[in-house]
Amino acid sequence: MIVKTKKILINSELECASGEALENFELMTDFYGELNKKKDNAVLVCHAFSGSHHAAGKRDGNIGWWDEFIGPDKTIDTNRFYVVSVNNLGSCFGSSGPLSKDKNGERFNNNFPQLEVIDWVESQKMLADKLGIKKWHLVIGGSLGGMQSLQWAVSYPKMVKKVGILAAAAKTSSQNIALNEVEREVIRKDSDFHDGKYLEFNKSPVKGLKAARMLGHITYLSAKNMDQRFGRKLQNTDSKIAEDIDFEIENYLQYKGGKFAESFDANSYILLTKVMDKFDIAHGYDDSLESALENIRAEVLVVSFTSDWMFPTSNGKEICLASIKANKKCSYIELEGEHGHDSFLYPNEDYQNAIKNFIESR
């Protein structure tokens, strides 16, 4: 498989939904496979909240977040398709975000424009133009990436042939927003946060970021999955991360949270959770989902997991039913998924067949 990673400069202004603008911006992008002569085999893969452009292959000891799905003869077969995977604006893996510098050479920190999902779509539309891609064969993603895929199909109906919306919703729920606010509050209350200017003090609110991620991580798993994996097992003393840990699950969350806090930026965390909170595809359409989906020309596949309590199956069904009402071609697949919300990341034969059949059908 041909793999390329490029930081691509888009030298035009991006006017954000908030009214703020970015004079220019960079998008860290992975490419897997080859664009054919007709340029009609391009697939845009959209990562979830804390993901990155690194979707497939092993790099610096890390395996891409959808490695089992992207590659030769895999679910998205790179012998046929040209996969483009972009690190979203506002994130912290190479694309423009709070860590980059503004036109005056100052680091944005907490002053990066507050983005919305639609801004990501706009930024990627500019990227597609630059790459000469007039129509995606498929735009697909899970969670926040699924919302982004849906936004693509609504915003640029002529540019999307098929759209895959995995473990996602047409809008975030009050509970989603509430949990995100707790996560943000934990970061803000870290004494090293310095109102988001922590880098100026050579600090980072790692304690807050870690705790926020620990809470977030719980919402990505299911109760059943946690019981099966950890149950009430006690942590053995040798590998305890902290003194007062009793159970394995505590140690696991401490470990995962700590790892995450080392590699993620707190301002990005706050910004990206806000992006999620603001998402409501029916906003601007009199809150009618059916009207919002009216524009879509793409064939739609919605997949939900019964073990997902972040975006429960009712969210997926709602998108499918509204699509059918709007006379769109939409399919809905419901799987148990063993991993709660995170199920969309894990290989499963039925799940992968659904995606593969959808992508490859004539």
Binding site: N327, C330, S331, I333, E334, F358, S361
Partner: protein, 197 residues
């Protein structure tokens, strides 16, 4: 699905209509109707591998239980619904029929006749029927509300439904003088096109 059966259903489906297939299996009927009648089809199928087959054929499908599914469908609008050999698997066939006719102008129902002589014979010898169109033993069958041709027509009458067309078929999916003469005894399958009065 048997091709004779498909041909029968096809006759009742007008061109360019919006069709809902409840229990659509691998989507072969909808694919056939797409090719022959240019219908805009949508299927419901509980079995994931069959639903995945629909995706492969590019037939839109909702993978869910019919009972659960139609509850959420209240404001959808179809020209014709097809319920081929699935009414006897539903929790509340009477409510389901009414719900289906809320979202679809017409409905095609096909059902195995539990009063067919072969079933009667099995029961006479004290056994649950295992026949050509009811091949699964009682402990494995999904059929929880089996009925006879007489029962179904009585239900339509009670629910104030109009039977536009009906066919009484033998085991070879053919209507014969015999099946017409004594449908409840000699027809293996009843096929109906119904609507609200």
């Amino acid at each position: 699905m048997k091709s004779d059966f498909k041909r029968i259903i096809e006759k009742w489906i007008p061109q360019n209509t919006k069709v809902l297939d409840l229990g659509c299996g691998d989507g072969d009927l909808l694919e056939h109707l797409k090719d022959s009648k240019n219908v805009n089809g949508f299927g419901i199928e509980i079995d994931i591998s069959k639903a995945n087959e629909c995706l492969r054929r590019n037939i839109p499908v909702m993978q869910c239980d019919i009972d659960e599914g139609i509850k959420d469908f209240d404001d959808l609008d179809f020209d014709i619904a097809i319920m081929a050999n699935s009414i006897q698997c539903l929790k509340n066939p009477n409510l389901a029929l009414q719900n289906i006719l809320n979202i679809s102008n017409k409905c095609i129902v096909t059902l195995p006749n539990f009063a067919h002589w072969s079933c009667r014979l099995d029961l006479f010898f004290g056994k649950m029927p295992v026949t050509k169109n009811l091949p699964v033993p009682w402990y494995e069958t999904k059929n929880i509300h089996l009925c006879t041709i007489k029962d179904f027509e009585e239900l339509c009458n009670n629910l104030d439904l109009h039977v536009i067309e009906k066919l009484y078929l033998n085991n070879n999916f053919k209507e014969s003088t015999l099946t017409k003469l004594l449908p409840n005894l000699l027809a293996a399958e009843g096929v109906y096109l119904i609507e609200r009065k």
